[in-house]
Symmetry: C2
Subunit: 505 residues, 2 copies
């Protein structure tokens, strides 16, 4: 095993237990771990750190690519080992600690973390913990199912711990494309002109002496938590497919559209699945996470190439794909998230970006993160990298949540992650609003008319009418802008009808 997995012989003596490796971690350190959307995360050393924290004072700042699986965030939080976390998470236990103000969470555009690290504008990484399929003859690290921030973490850290995961196939070698921009002012263009362009190396080159410990693991990536498409997500997909058909008919797009990005989660995955039964062909993806739908599209012959930073699949799809990775490998690239989400490349390629809104307002501002404006769900992730620089920026959401007690379209969002300037299309199961070239008052009419179900549709028209009496480019009634949210907090529903009933009772 070791000959294939640790090809530089002198490093084989660094193999140790997770407990032993965890001793490199000191209280107050900043740790950079692999892991992006539950894929390719360090799986055993973090748990050993949590064990230590149960009996000694050991708190770390944790940076990753994005969200982790294997209950790593949960276990570190419960052990009291987590003081600070960036740039993304999606764990319920950690989320609760963040919302109690116990863990300081820095929610960042996913392309930016390593820029800030590289210029020492945030605390330096002390130790990087990186999952790998193998270490090469020169001591370079070959990542597993994600690249995320792993390359820059390993390059910038003083010490590197490698988790070699035997459940991850050696066939993944060659999938990764590691490219690190030069330091300014000598920085050159990122030379990607097509989604399939390879511009870097297949492994992360670092001085081998920085690898202070190697741990052998056999834990799998956690499976994706997305739900299968349902009636509403199918309607959303259908509205979008019809919109793109019209764009092709009007000559603005060809039948292969533009490179596609889809955010993580059930809705974006369902929208992508909707392309299977579409007339579009030779599609390409330039995205961050590649989900089940990516491989469904490959299998349907619809997709020519997919570039991402991670592969996150359901249990069944994971077996199908990774047992047959050779079938897909020449049509896949995994890049550092700085590159998968790079504004330069996104703008150059002209992406169609499809991301999910937690709530949207009548003018098209988007809240992706904060429930009732205060409580963090996951984080902005890469949506800001993509939406700002897209050829066409789509945000999708079901029109209601909690059996209709919440309207996803509200008078004013309680937190803004994406301003109206970055939102071209809003689509719900009710319909699609094409907002390109429209002023706010026009956007409001389109969104309310096309995207909202009753009783909220009439309530929004009423709000808009009252707001327009007050005037302004973007009319609002400030003292009522959050009345729906405070009503929900007090009565359990945003609807005036039910709210009144409860108030009377």
């Amino acid at each position: 095993m070791q000959e294939q997995r640790i090809r530089l012989p002198e490093l084989r003596k660094r193999v140790c237990s997770a407990e032993h490796a965890a001793l490199w971690i000191e209280d107050g350190m900043t740790i950079g771990m692999s892991g992006f959307t539950r894929a390719g995360d360090a799986k055993v050393v973090p748990l050993a750190i949590a064990e230590r924290a149960k009996t000694e004072h050991l708190k770390i700042s944790l940076m990753t690519g994005a969200s982790l699986g294997n209950d790593v965030d949960k276990t570190l939080t419960e052990a009291g080992a987590m003081s600070r976390r960036m740039p993304f998470q999606s764990d319920p236990t950690l989320r609760a600690a963040i919302n109690r103000g116990e863990v300081m969470y820095v929610d960042q555009h996913l392309s930016e973390t390593v820029e800030q690290l590289r210029t020492r504008q945030i605390n330096a990484i002390d130790v990087a913990i990186i999952e790998a399929i193998a270490i090469t003859e020169t001591g370079a690290i070959i990542p597993t199912t994600s690249v995320g921030n792993s390359a820059s973490f390993a390059i910038l850290a003083d010490q590197v711990i490698v988790e070699i995961n035997l459940t991850q196939s050696l066939e993944l070698e060659g999938l990764h494309d590691i490219f690190i921009p030069k330091h300014r002012p000598r920085r050159e263009p990122v030379p990607i002109m097509s989604v399939s362009d390879r511009i870097g190396s297949t492994a992360i080159s670092i001085p081998p002496e920085k690898i202070v410990a190697i741990v052998i693991t056999q834990k799998s990536d956690s499976a994706s938590t997305i739900l299968p498409p349902d009636h509403d997500t199918a309607k959303i997909a259908s509205h979008l497919v019809n919109f793109f058909k019209d764009e092709v008919r009007d000559g603005r797009l060809t039948n292969s559209l533009m490179p596609l990005q889809a955010g993580i989660g059930t809705i974006a995955n369902a929208v992508m699945s909707g392309f299977i039964d579409s007339p579009f062909e030779h599609l390409t993806m330039y995205s961050e996470v590649l989900q089940d739908s990516t491989f469904d599209l490959f299998d349907a012959g619809k997709l020519d190439f997919a570039s991402g930073s991670s592969i996150t699949l359901s249990s069944q799809k994971s077996r199908e794909v990774f047992n047959n990775i050779g079938k897909y490998k020449d049509r896949l690239i995994l890049r550092p998230q700085e590159i998968s989400n790079h504004p330069e490349v996104i703008r150059r390629l002209g992406l169609i970006t499809i991301n999910t809104a937690l709530e949207a307002d009548i003018y098209g501002n988007i809240n992706s993160t904060h429930v009732l404006g205060t409580h963090m769900m996951n984080g902005i992730g890469g949506s800001g990298d993509f939406a700002r620089n897209a050829y066409l920026s789509v945000f999708a959401t079901k029109s209601i949540a909690k059996d209709g007690k919440i309207s996803s379209i509200v008078p004013m969002v309680t937190h803004v992650d994406h301003t109206e300037h970055d939102v071209d299309i809003i689509v719900t199961e009710i319909g699609l609003a094409d907002l390109r070239g429209l002023a706010p008052r026009e956007r409001a009419q389109k969104i309310i008319q096309h995207c909202v179900a009753e009783p909220y549709k009439q309530m929004l028209f009423d709000y808009l009418a009252e707001a327009e009496l007050r005037g302004g480019h973007t009319p609002h009634v400030l003292e009522k802008a959050y009345a729906w949210h405070t009503r929900y907090r007090e009565t359990g529903t945003m609807s005036e009808v039910a709210g009144t009933l409860k108030a009377v009772a």
Copy 2:
């Protein structure tokens, strides 16, 4: 005159009056005009269009680079000729019409308008009206004091009207650098690796037969409306200079900092002037509008090179500069705003961006545009292009407005143009908050502590304390989030003290 100014002889017969040229405009057309921050705007044909609109039904959609001078927006609005306007304006009369809902205003990131035009996602330009110093031997148009969107407007329009302005010196020839990205999917990197890189041509090449009319004018650019530095802006500049000194001391920046961008207006201009008496040297600018301070910095020997999209100066400075343009010319480039504001170049060069906030909130979200959340001032301009992709994003504002009746720092901004993710530094005359690497609760402490004057400082600490009782990553008391704004609307001040007094009275 004509030999120098209209060098292609066959075009000389197209010279006509403004009234005659304006006859090319038809009701319902989309017109693209030169002009960026009052510089290089078309000056006489638009007024002739307004004259026509007084006696016939003539409404146009007007696109420009940015704001216009010479009362063009005012005159077209008063004549009822303006139905739609994008992507930026700063005229009081037009602003009032926008806020009444009479003119549909599309407030856009300044780098994006021509991308949407080029891909036909918004209405096509019918006629372009471009101010020029001359037309070359091949029929190419040499712009005057701005490039803005002029190049793409002229290339994309069916017909082009040129205003040759004899007050603009022929010495401006060679200043401009016209580069147009190729259509996707054949688009290549924008090859700017340094602020001084020239990558295009010095004139806008179009088929000469598209030039349907040439009008000779002698009207000057309107002077800049910025105010001179005052005590408060000097304090803001001083806080920033001290911050940068610390960054140099800590080895994160060199004494020439990084290329600087400064937004339009009094505060950003004053901040740049503050660098005159700083220890920094060999500064460079990669900005959109070059204001008085740019030339003050040249004269002080502090600035090596400035790249922009326009030159907008006060009357006195305008005489000094344009009568001695030869002195500055080899240190200046004017680019299309798509390039001056291009995310790719901004990120590659690593700019320090300095923009002005209308209001900021305790978490560092910025409102650049909407008074009390509803009424448009000017527009987002290029601030979104710059702040999102900056090495370091600074927002500056005076801590109070209207003699203290308004606090520029509020519990929650009523409109978000820049989310907390895009804001690294907030600076007022009170002090500077360095927000890098901080979570929202930490950002709030820093902003309130360092940037706010009493009585608002204590009021914000009180708000934050009450909000934190409710919990959340970004604590708020939604029903009180806009209480300051509604109090101002009702009582004329945001302050509780004065508000209470008035309520009692």
